[in-house]
């Protein structure tokens, strides 16, 4: 589904991605973790070309993302993207957020788009909020709408860029549950997240990134039980025992 080959990216003189080569199979759920500034968000944003790359190749579903003939808008519409900050459109209702792209870009009739959107909203548990405006919802609810909005384009692939990092702790669970259900339905997913519980229970594979490189990749059981790279060991111990050093 995704082939990433020798991708390099610079911000000025700072190299954000260093020779990243990776692939994701259809139906696979891959979690990317790592300390902040490690390049994980940058990596996921290069997949649908929110960020340009300077060298390398990214092929998604047979389409060379940075190739000369790629139809960028059509290409992007086949990749669902969920942002840390939700980025719902605040001036239209929840339902309209979910029907805007399908009516305009998939050519659905308003009634069809509406039915589909309501089904998706029911799936994320928010059918009752269809007529509300995004500003009237909690963060967790907004993020679930954002997932429904992305799904409304029926993408074969979903990308999540720290979907729970901007949420109050009590709302993290509801979003992760939706994501887990999605994974169980066979959706191909790449998730940048710090939720190690999610990585352990849902991911097929976990990547660890630091300083723009993928330092380790393993199935969750291996990843957590037998981390090899010293940076990963440090990272996992920092997460598990945040007070170790102070004590």
């Amino acid at each position: 589904m995704i082939q990433i080959e020798k991708v390099n990216k610079w911000y000025g003189s700072y190299q954000a991605l260093v020779n990243v080569t990776e692939s994701v199979a259809k139906g696979e759920v891959v979690v990317v973790c790592g300390p902040s500034g490690s390049g994980k968000s940058t990596l996921i944003r290069t997949l649908n070309r929110l960020e340009p790359i300077q060298s390398g190749r990214i092929v998604i579903d047979g389409v060379d993302a940075y190739g000369p003939h790629v139809k960028l808008n059509a290409f992007r519409s086949h990749i669902g993207f969920v942002f840390q900050q939700f980025n719902l459109f605040p001036h239209i209702t929840v339902l309209e957020n979910c029907t805007l792209a399908p009516t305009r870009l998939r050519g659905l009739k308003p009634s069809e788009a509406r039915d589909e959107a309501l089904t998706l909203l029911a799936r994320v548990g928010l059918a009752a909020k269809a007529r509300a405006y995004p500003g009237e919802l909690s963060g967790g609810q907004q993020q679930r709408v954002a997932i429904a909005r992305a799904l409304a384009m029926r993408p074969p692939l979903m990308l999540f860029d720290e979907p729970t990092s901007a949420l109050d702790p009590e709302m993290v669970g509801e979003v992760l549950l939706v994501m887990r259900d999605l994974a169980r339905d066979g959706m191909t997913m790449v998730c940048v997240t710090h939720e190690m519980g999610f990585a352990r229970d849902v991911a097929d594979r976990v990547l660890f990134m630091d300083e723009g490189k993928v330092l380790e990749r393993a199935v969750p059981s291996e990843f957590f039980a037998r981390p090899e790279h010293p940076r990963l060991r440090q990272f996992l111990s920092d997460i598990r025992t945040p007070f170790a050093e102070a004590a």
Binding site: N73, R76, F83, A101, R104, Y133, G135
Partner: protein, 232 residues
């Protein structure tokens, strides 16, 4: 003062109409309304061009806006008055001359309001629209601009206030708007300039102050609506 109003109120309001061209306060208002009406779409286009990712679009428009904003309206009126006829080959009457000047001038100011509005919306909105597959222009049209226009409603009313005051410069090219009429009344009465111009000043003030209050109310109203949403 009462008899002044009593004698000249109709002349003050509509000029020589219906026995001559429409003038007075009515002309002032028509000019201001039409000015803003035409300036708005132009300002919208300019504002979008101003933040365009394409240099060839951005630069010429930016240059035009800076020139207009760096010039007094009086200059723009003169340009329109002397330059427009040589461009079109026929004499333009005062009304269209003034309207052209107002539209160009206001469009430049509106463009800056719109530019600030677009830049204030936040990158995330564009990114999420683009990631759904919308083109740049669709993202603008469907997602960014509706929010910008709503946010700028108060600024729009304030710009209307400015436009009303700007129409008084039509006096200089002999346009019979309300200031011109007031001067004519003054010439006829001869002995009471203070009262005539006090009335003129009051007219502008009531109109503009009222609209400013409306803008203020709009601003608070919009703010409250967003706050109510955020706290719900």
């Amino acid at each position: 003062m009462i008899e002044l109003i009593d004698t000249y109120w109709l002349y003050f309001l509509v000029g020589q109409y219906p026995h001559g061209p429409l003038g007075g306060l009515a002309l002032t208002l028509i000019l201001a309304v039409l000015g803003l009406l035409f300036a708005f779409p132009l300002g919208l286009v300019f504002g979008i061009a101003r933040v365009s990712p394409w240099r060839s679009v951005r630069w010429p428009v930016t240059a035009l806006i800076q020139v207009v904003r760096g010039t007094p309206l009086l200059m723009v009126v003169f340009w329109a008055y002397f330059f427009l006829p040589s461009l079109t080959g026929q004499n333009t009457d005062q009304f269209w001359t003034m309207l052209t000047a107002l539209v160009v001038f206001d469009a430049a100011y509106l463009a800056e309001i719109i530019r600030a509005g677009i830049q204030g919306i936040g990158k995330g909105q564009t990114e999420s629209a683009r990631s759904l597959g919308f083109s740049y222009l669709d993202a603008m049209r469907l997602v960014i601009l509706p929010q910008v226009v709503r946010n700028m409603l108060p600024s729009l009313v304030n710009q209307f206030v400015a436009t009303i005051k700007e129409t008084s410069l039509g006096y200089i090219i002999g346009l019979t708007e309300v200031s011109f009429i007031a001067t004519q009344i003054n010439t006829q009465v001869l002995t009471r300039p203070a009262e005539v111009y006090l009335l003129l000043g009051l007219t502008y003030f009531i109109l503009c102050f009222g609209l400013s209050r409306l803008a203020f109310w709009l601003e608070r109203h919009l703010q409250q609506r967003t706050m109510a949403k955020a706290h719900a």
